[in-house]
Symmetry: C2
Subunit: 552 residues, 2 copies
Amino acid sequence: MNGAQALIKTLADAGIEVCFSNPGTSEMHFVAALDTEPRMRAVLALFEGVATGAADGYARMADKPAATLLHLGCGLSNGLANLHNARKGKVPVLNIVGDHATHHMRYDAQLQSDIETVARNVSPDFVRTSMRTAELCRDAAEALTTCMGPPGGVATLILPADVSWGEGGTPQPCPPPPPAPAADAARVQEIARALAACGKKTALLLGRRALRDGMLQNLSCIAQHTGARLFAEVFPTRMERGAGLPHVERIAYLAELASVQLSGLEHLILVDAKSPVSFFAYPGKDSDLVPRGCQVHTLAAAHEDVAASVQRLLDATGAQAAQPLLQAPRRPELPRGKFTADKVCKAIGHLLPERAIIMDEAQTSGIMLPLFTAGAPRHDLLTLTGGAIGQALPCAAGAAIACPDRKVLALSGDGSAMYNLQALWTMAREKLDVVSIIFNNRSYAILNVELQRVGAAGAGEKARSQLDIGVPALDFVQLAAGMGVPGTRATTTEEFNRALAHALRTPGPHLIEAVVPPTLTGMKLRVLPHLLGSLKRLPKPLAQALKRGIVP
Amino acid sequence: MNGAQALIKTLADAGIEVCFSNPGTSEMHFVAALDTEPRMRAVLALFEGVATGAADGYARMADKPAATLLHLGCGLSNGLANLHNARKGKVPVLNIVGDHATHHMRYDAQLQSDIETVARNVSPDFVRTSMRTAELCRDAAEALTTCMGPPGGVATLILPADVSWGEGGTPQPCPPPPPAPAADAARVQEIARALAACGKKTALLLGRRALRDGMLQNLSCIAQHTGARLFAEVFPTRMERGAGLPHVERIAYLAELASVQLSGLEHLILVDAKSPVSFFAYPGKDSDLVPRGCQVHTLAAAHEDVAASVQRLLDATGAQAAQPLLQAPRRPELPRGKFTADKVCKAIGHLLPERAIIMDEAQTSGIMLPLFTAGAPRHDLLTLTGGAIGQALPCAAGAAIACPDRKVLALSGDGSAMYNLQALWTMAREKLDVVSIIFNNRSYAILNVELQRVGAAGAGEKARSQLDIGVPALDFVQLAAGMGVPGTRATTTEEFNRALAHALRTPGPHLIEAVVPPTLTGMKLRVLPHLLGSLKRLPKPLAQALKRGIVP
């Protein structure tokens, strides 16, 4: 058996079922070997950013990694941004990156580059070039163990062509992950004391595994029993929410709003989450969002056993008998009237099917989504974990492959959608049940906000033109049709309602282009901190959301 | 003046006129500063691969760098593949990569990554994070000097947000490049002796600056005088060719063909070119294409003065009075009959306007292009220097901005075109005179060839599906329309002829989708070496081309 065949068998034996691929010549033996392993599905992407983003979305929903198959350093480069998102979300992804044959590397041929350096940033815990066929599967098993974690992340195995085509490959079992430690008694007691002493001035900040159903129930019990608040990190990897599940308030993207959420806290307890910081720096503003004097505790870090740690805290606080605070079922009315991004979010809230998966990269247009879907049937929310735009469509495609029985909604801004739009082709090819909703406000609307926030004075015509993507106007319906995905353009609320209802009841991919005005146009973000005292001058739905403690 | 304003003035003072941009929050002060410098044009791209590829194409034609403006490590990542192409072509590109404010970096916010590591691969000679506003312009001037060379290449200046917005920026002059050495007398004499002793078994292999008009004339004189052959590297950065210019035969992409071209040589003289190696490795094949026993000489390396070195060799060989062998004007007939990729190439040869720029990434479909355009009016040919596909459309956009008075043709395979298709939007926005010709053969046709060449046995259904991009079929006319570019689909030779003639006489961007069968389908590439003796069983046009010494 050659290296490629043994490698695919090693992956399949470890339960890896999907490979998102964009191969080239150096991967041809791997491609040929696909037919030797019926347990491995190969999903072709037209661009590597689609393959890596799909692997991320798949792993978030399948709770296990997919492989990617990428063509040398340049193929990996094209997939880096979505691998960055996976890394920041601690999502397991196994990259198989083809390389030149070992004897060819010294010739510095056209596609030669230092692949290990390209991989290092997104794959800090495992980058290895497998130099011998006999050792390939051992390397692969080690890569898999590293990427599955805890904490989980991106591992990169570089596969020279001759190691792939060489005979003598031997499949290897993947060793189980080492047991993860739970919080020790001292740490748990310290946190329990803080909760007992000043519950209402304490918050639990939940990330990653803490945002899954079972864990949420226990954490909600602790919060109810002690008076503590529950926050979710600003960009959760995967968050289970909706009617019947504990409600958790997300930290806002805008540091000005996040500071309001966190003000007055004396203790902040991290549960598989990172201490909150501002997304960007702004002149004269703090980057650290933890209020001065607030003590930060870590109940469970990314490499630790979250479930066991939460259980210990439940016991230590005596909250076992408490009842979690569950979100009541509640949907907004079907929207009417002037068509805006908020109406899109409202229609989604009204129509969202049971167990849907929402991948939200709607940027400014999605600001009301958390509010309008809070009481919708239970669903999973995936978000842009690393801030590298262009994740929504690929990630949704991967999620749909992991969960073929669930409806996936991909929400994207127009600017973001143009990054990895090729994902639509994979959706059409694989007949994935994804409804892509593109908010076409014809601008990098968030940058109009940011231009104000950073205090960049004197934005003239040239500067403004850099944020304006409406000339020429993008036609997402034609773009989708060009890749085999049926699309609908909605310019009124009623058109959108109809299009969404149709897409949700029809299997296969659909795209809806929602032509909406930018959401935050009328708002003076620079003066937001001054407004937050009264909320009076904020847009009404945003002010309502803030009052309800559900902050965009 | 703040850092951003001083930086833009420093660039403009050094003659930099264009910035290809895809900015984010951390670049907002740079964006705001654009309006303070009327000499700087900002060209927005919807994806960073477009910005970097356009900067490459611009520099090839303008003979000076453009700047790019990219958003942190992920923005740079998205532009890496085309920067790889620029690096391999030794094309000057100055990346300005925004970063978080210096005081924000330690918080590891969502978009934080090690930008210097991301840049290292494509930008080995200059990567620097400018940490103080007062030093920014000195760093920028140094980056520019490095990137302009010789040899020229990619330089990356990382610009933290606070260094950009901080006051105290002072524009700096860009020092002139250090003088480049020419080949010394001993080297010139050694090469002249080889040419005198066995001219007919000697070849000059020309790359980069050696493929420009003035240099070509002198090199052709040397070849005519000594009997040596002239070869161009397989993927030239920029090659001037056509009627009235010396004809130079390109080394073939297929190592099997290149070996035929180079066989029998006793001396190979490199003129700003790299010694030829196989693009990929193949089981049991040599990677080094230099025939055994052939001696390789370097007349001028990338960091040296090519013009002076060639002049010295002209003098040493006594070829000053020789006449260069100039290509006679000759166009193919307008094609008729069954529509194939070869007919597209023939129609281009028939219709190519004077001083056109051809960016060729047609892969297998472009195999006959060199033959059919050899005697067309003089034109510039740009090619895929680093093998990272997705360069044609961005590079063509950049070339059109550098040469607004010339027609640009971008030739791309369907697979390649889908990598950075967003370039069409920039073409529409800037009203660029680019005719994009997409060869839609609905497959990664070159990989069908490569699958045979690497001897990957047992290509089953799954393997073949990885090379098939026809399900669903891509509709490039709709894709172009979605980005504001008018398009035409050609399914017959006559339709293509009409569409090309129309596009060439109409200003602004056009796309022509040529629906053609894969070019090399019927050909058994595995047995190619056995066929080369007789040429009888090769496709007729290919055999003709080989006989004429014009090898694809």
